[in-house]
C-alpha cells in the first residue's frame, strides 16, 4: 500500500474527494471556445436597440444583423459595389430614374405571413421615405407595383448613389407589411416577421444575440449553423477575448492593430474593412482671430498630418488629403497645401499677426487628444499658442450648432471626424450652404460648390464625377478652413479559417461569412 493512502479512512476520503472533484469538473464546462462545432462567435460593439429600419433612433441602422434576417433587393458584394440579393430574380436600372426588380417566388416570411411581395417593398420604402432616415430617400418617389413579384422603383430625379447608399444599406431593408401593421406599425428588437438565412433564437440584452439558421429559408444554406453575437463594447476587452479564444472575429483599435502588425496571434488574419472615416481640423472662418485667410493658410501649412498618423495612430491610419475617403471616386493623393512651417511663419508675418492664442476643442479620447497635442506642438513652432479643450460627446456635438447655444461664436479650432458612406457625394452634403451653423461649422459657402454638389449627385459618369469631386475639394482647400488629418481604417482580427464579409462602411455582413 502506498504511503499516501495508509488507512481505509484515508482511501475513502480520497475516493470521495475525487468523486466531488470529478462531478465539479464535469459540471464546469471548458471555456466556450469560439468556432466550437458549428457556432461562430463574433463581437458586437454595441447593444441591439432596435431592428426596425424606420424607427432606429441615433447612430446608424443595425444592418449587420438585419442583413442576415431580412430581405433586401441588393446587397454589398465581396468585390465592392452592389449585387442582387438572394431574394430577387433580377434588379436592373432601366434608366437614370427607373429601377426594375423581380422578387423570387416562394421567399416566405416567418410566423405565417406568406411570401415576400412587391407590396412589402413599396410599404418598406414609402415608410422609410418619411422616417428619420428620409435623407437616404431624397430621390425616391414611389414603387410601381406590376404584380405580386415585380415592380419598378421610380426616382424623382437622377441619383447616382441610390443603389449603393440607399438600397444596399441598412435603410434598404424590406419589412413585412402585414406583420408590421399587425404589430402596431413599428417594432424594436422583436421582429414580427423575418425572411433570411438566420433567425433570432435568443437575445439576452447586454450579453448575447444568438442567431440560428432558418429552417424555412430556401436560399443558399449559410456556412455556419449558429452565430453567437457577443456584446463586447470595449475594443481592448474584445482583443483579449479573441486572444483567449473566445471570439472568432473582433474589431481592433489603432494601438492593438499596430501591435498585431508586429506580432499577430497564431492562426489569425487581419482584415481592413474600409477606411471611410475622415478626420480634419476645422477653423471658424467667421471668428475675428481667423477671419484673415492668411492666418488660416498659415495654420494649414504648420500642421504635419504625417506626424499625426505616426504619433496618434502608430502609423495605422492613412493620411488624408481631402474629405473623399480611400477607394472612392475623387480621392486625392495631395492636398492644396503642404507642410511648410517656413511658409506658415511668412504668412503670419504678412498678416501682421504675432502672439496669436487659439483654442482647440476635441473629443476626449486617446487618439484625438494625442492628435491635439501634436497640432499644439506644430503651431507652437510658428509662434501660435494653442489651448486644448477636451470635451465629452454632449457639449462637443452641440458646439457648432446655432440652435444649441452660443458656443459656435467662440469656436476657433476643433478636431472633427465624420463617417462617409460608399459614395463620394456623402461627405460633401455636410458642407453645403444649408449646413452653415448646423454641421458646416467652418461657416463658409460658395455658389460654385453648391452647383457642383447638385451636378455630382445626378452624374453617373465616373470620370465626370471624379472631376466634380476633385474640384469641390479644391474649393474647400481654398477656404483655408481645413487641415485634413487621417482616414482611420476599420480593422478586424479573425481566425484564418474564416472569410468574413463587410459592407463598405465596415459593418459585418454575418449572413455571408464563410470558411476560408
Amino acid at each position: 500500500m502506498s504511503k499516501i493512502l495508509q488507512t481505509r479512512r484515508q482511501l475513502l476520503q480520497t475516493i470521495a474527494f475525487a468523486g466531488i472533484a470529478g462531478t465539479a469538473v464535469g459540471k464546469f464546462p471548458g471555456i466556450a471556445y469560439a468556432a466550437d462545432g458549428a457556432t461562430l462567435k463574433i463581437q458586437f460593439e454595441r447593444e441591439l436597440d432596435s431592428l426596425d429600419p424606420g424607427y432606429f433612433v441615433g447612430g446608424s441602422p443595425p444592418c449587420d444583423v438585419n442583413w442576415a434576417l431580412m430581405p433586401a433587393l441588393v446587397h454589398y458584394g465581396r468585390g465592392g459595389g452592389w449585387i442582387p440579393s438572394p431574394h430577387v430574380e433580377s434588379v436592373v436600372a432601366r434608366d437614370a430614374t427607373h429601377i426594375d426588380f423581380t422578387l423570387r417566388k416562394g421567399m416566405m416570411w416567418t410566423n405565417g405571413f406568406g411570401e415576400v411581395t412587391t407590396e412589402d417593398v413599396a410599404y418598406s420604402y414609402d415608410r422609410e421615405a418619411v422616417s428619420e432616415w428620409k435623407g437616404d430617400y431624397v430621390a425616391y418617389d414611389h414603387v410601381e407595383i406590376k404584380d405580386k413579384y415585380s415592380g419598378t422603383i421610380v426616382l424623382n430625379q437622377p441619383f447616382a448613389p441610390f443603389m449603393n447608399t440607399t438600397l444596399a444599406s441598412g435603410t434598404g431593408i424590406i419589412i413585412c407589411k402585414k406583420a408590421v401593421e399587425a404589430a402596431g406599425g413599428k417594432f424594436t428588437t422583436e421582429q414580427p416577421a423575418s425572411c433570411g438565412p438566420y433567425l433570432i433564437a435568443e437575445h439576452r440584452p447586454g450579453q448575447v444575440l444568438k442567431l440560428r439558421s432558418n429552417p424555412e429559408w430556401n436560399g443558399a444554406k449559410p456556412a455556419y449553423e449558429n452565430i453567437d453575437c457577443l456584446f463586447v463594447t470595449e475594443s481592448s476587452a474584445a482583443a483579449l477575448a479573441y486572444e483567449a479564444g473566445e471570439l472568432d472575429i473582433a474589431k481592433v483599435s489603432a494601438d492593438t492593430y499596430a501591435r498585431y502588425l508586429k506580432e499577430i496571434p497564431a492562426n489569425s488574419s487581419l482584415t481592413v474593412a474600409g477606411a471611410l472615416q475622415y478626420m480634419w481640423m476645422g477653423m471658424n472662418t467667421d471668428h475675428p482671430k481667423l477671419k484673415d485667410i492668411r492666418v488660416r493658410q498659415a495654420i494649414q501649412h504648420a500642421v504635419d498630418a504625417s506626424a499625426v498618423v505616426q504619433g496618434a495612430y502608430s502609423g495605422t491610419a492613412e493620411q488624408s488629403y481631402g474629405v473623399v475617403c480611400p477607394g472612392l471616386t475623387g480621392r486625392r493623393d495631395k492636398a492644396g497645401y503642404s507642410y511648410d512651417p517656413t511658409k506658415a511663419k511668412a504668412l503670419l508675418e504678412e498678416a501682421g499677426v504675432s502672439g496669436l492664442k487659439l483654442t482647440l476643442r476635441t473629443l476626449n479620447n486617446q487618439e484625438r487628444m494625442l492628435t491635439a497635442q501634436i497640432i499644439q506642438a506644430n503651431l507652437a513652432a510658428i509662434g501660435v499658442t494653442v489651448e486644448i479643450i477636451p470635451l465629452d460627446g454632449g457639449p462637443f456635438w452641440d458646439m457648432g450648432q446655432e440652435k444649441k447655444g452660443d458656443t459656435w461664436k467662440e469656436l476657433e479650432l476643433w478636431i472633427m471626424r465624420y463617417s462617409s458612406g460608399p459614395d463620394p457625394y456623402e461627405p460633401f452634403q455636410w458642407f453645403v450652404r444649408g449646413q452653415v451653423g448646423v454641421w458646416n461649422w467652418e461657416r463658409w459657402s460658395s455658389d460654385e460648390f453648391e452647383d457642383l454638389f447638385a451636378k455630382g449627385v445626378a452624374e453617373t459618369d465616373t470620370g465626370k464625377r471624379e472631376a466634380i469631386y476633385t474640384r469641390m475639394q479644391e474649393i474647400m482647400d481654398e477656404t483655408g478652413a481645413y487641415v485634413y488629418l487621417t482616414h482611420e481604417p476599420e480593422v478586424f482580427i479573425h481566425k484564418s479559417s474564416l472569410s468574413p464579409h463587410f459592407s463598405p462602411t465596415a459593418e459585418m455582413i454575418v449572413g455571408a461569412f464563410k470558411e476560408a
Binding site: 465539479a24 459540471k27 464546469f28 464546462p29 471555456i31 466556450a32 447593444e47 441591439l48 436597440d49 432596435s50 433612433v57 441615433g58 447612430g59 428619420e132 432616415w133 428620409k134 435623407g135 424594436t188 428588437t189 439576452r204 440584452p205 447586454g206 450579453q207 448575447v208 457577443l230 456584446f231 463586447v232 463594447t233 470595449e234 476587452a237 483579449l240 477575448a241 486572444e243 483567449a244 479564444g245 473566445e246 471570439l247 465629452d392 460627446g393 454632449g394 457639449p395 462637443f396 456635438w397 452641440d398 450648432q401 444649441k404 454641421w439
Partner: protein, 314 residues
C-alpha cells in the same frame, strides 16, 4: 431596539429622497442637449418634439422632478428610450449579476482578510505579520483594473483556464461560477488588504483591553479569548466597513463588468450615461442607492445587535 430601528428606517428614507434629488439635478446639469445626443443628428424636428414630450423635457425642471417622484412611488421607472423595454425589467435582469459579483468578491475577501488580520494581531511584528502587512498594502495599492487585465493575460490568454467574457449560460450554475472567478478575484483582491488591516488594528486595540488581560489571568485558552471575546468586539468596525464596501461595490463593479463584458448595473449606468438614456440611468442609480441604504442599514443593525450601546446614538 425598535425605536432605533424606526429612526434608522426614517433616516434611510430621507437619504434616498435627497439622493434622488441630487441625482436629478446632476443629470440635468450635464452639458449637452439630451435630445440631440439621444436621437443623433438625423432626427427630424417632429421626432425631437415627440421625444421631448415623452420624456417631459418640455416641462420645467421642478415639474419633471414631481413627475419622476410620482412615478417612482407607483413603481414605474419608465421605459428604455431605444428598445422601449421597461426599465424595471431591464434592471431586474441586470441587478442579480451585480449582486452576485459584489457578494462573491466581498465574501472571499472577508474569508481571507479577517483571519489574516487576526493572525497578524495575535503575533504582532512576527514574520507572518510583516508578510501580511506587505501583501495587504500591495493589494490595496494595485488598481483593480490592472488586476483584471493581468488576471486575464495570465489565466485566460496564457493558460486558457478561465473565460474572459460573459456571465455564463443561464441555468448552468457551473458555467456561471466559472465565469465569476476572475471578476470576483479582481474586484475582491483590494478588499483582502483593507479587511486585514482593519481587523488587525481593531484586534490590537481590543487585545490591550483590561477584560482581555483578565481573561488571560484566569487562564482561558487563547483561542477562546481571541474568537469568543476579542474578535466579537474587534469585528464591529469591520462589519460597518463591509456594509459600506458592499454598497460601494454595487456601482464600483463597473470596471469589471466592462473589462469582462459582464451584464450588471455598473455597466448599464456607464453605457446609458454615454447615450443620455435618462430613464435607465435614473432607475439604475435609484436601485443602487436603495441597495446601498439597505445594506448600510443591515450593517448598522448588526452592529447595534452586537453592541447595544450604539442604539443610543444615530
Amino acid at each position: 431596539m425598535w425605536s432605533y430601528l424606526l429612526k434608522r428606517i426614517l433616516l434611510s428614507v430621507l437619504i434616498v429622497f435627497l439622493a434622488i434629488l441630487a441625482l436629478f439635478i446632476t443629470l440635468h446639469s450635464i452639458p449637452g442637449d439630451p435630445i440631440s445626443i439621444a436621437l443623433g443628428p438625423r432626427a427630424t424636428p417632429e421626432i425631437q418634439a415627440e421625444y421631448a414630450a415623452r420624456m417631459h423635457l418640455d416641462k420645467p425642471l421642478y415639474h419633471q422632478f414631481v413627475i419622476f417622484i410620482g412615478n417612482v412611488l407607483k413603481g414605474d421607472l419608465g421605459n428604455d428610450l431605444f428598445s422601449n423595454r421597461s426599465v424595471l425589467l431591464i434592471l431586474s435582469e441586470q441587478l442579480p449579476y451585480t449582486i452576485v459579483l459584489a457578494v462573491t468578491a466581498i465574501g472571499w475577501s472577508a474569508l481571507i482578510g479577517i483571519p489574516l488580520g487576526c493572525l497578524s494581531a495575535v503575533k504582532p511584528n512576527s514574520l507572518l505579520d510583516k508578510i501580511t502587512g506587505i501583501v495587504s498594502v500591495g493589494t490595496i495599492a494595485i488598481p483593480s483594473f490592472l488586476v483584471s487585465i493581468w488576471a486575464i493575460l495570465i489565466f485566460s490568454v496564457g493558460l486558457k483556464w478561465l473565460p474572459v467574457i460573459g456571465a455564463g449560460e443561464p441555468g448552468d450554475f457551473g458555467d456561471q461560477i466559472y465565469h465569476l472567478i476572475l471578476p470576483a478575484f479582481a474586484v475582491g483582491l483590494g478588499w483582502v488588504g483593507y479587511l486585514a488591516r482593519m481587523v488587525r488594528a481593531s484586534m490590537l486595540e481590543v487585545m490591550s483591553e483590561n477584560y482581555i488581560r483578565s481573561a488571560n489571568a484566569f487562564g482561558l485558552k487563547s483561542r477562546t479569548i481571541i474568537f469568543k471575546y476579542a474578535l466579537k468586539v474587534a469585528i464591529l468596525p469591520t462589519i460597518t466597513l463591509i456594509g459600506v464596501g458592499f454598497g460601494a461595490l454595487l456601482s464600483g463593479t463597473v470596471f469589471a463588468e466592462i473589462i469582462f463584458s459582464r451584464p450588471g448595473i455598473g455597466k448599464i449606468i456607464y453605457n446609458m450615461v454615454l447615450a443620455r438614456n435618462f430613464p435607465v440611468i435614473q432607475g439604475a442609480v435609484l436601485i443602487t442607492i436603495g441597495m446601498y441604504v439597505i445594506v448600510t442599514l443591515i450593517a448598522d443593525l448588526a452592529v447595534s445587535w452586537l453592541d447595544p450601546r450604539v442604539r443610543d446614538t444615530l
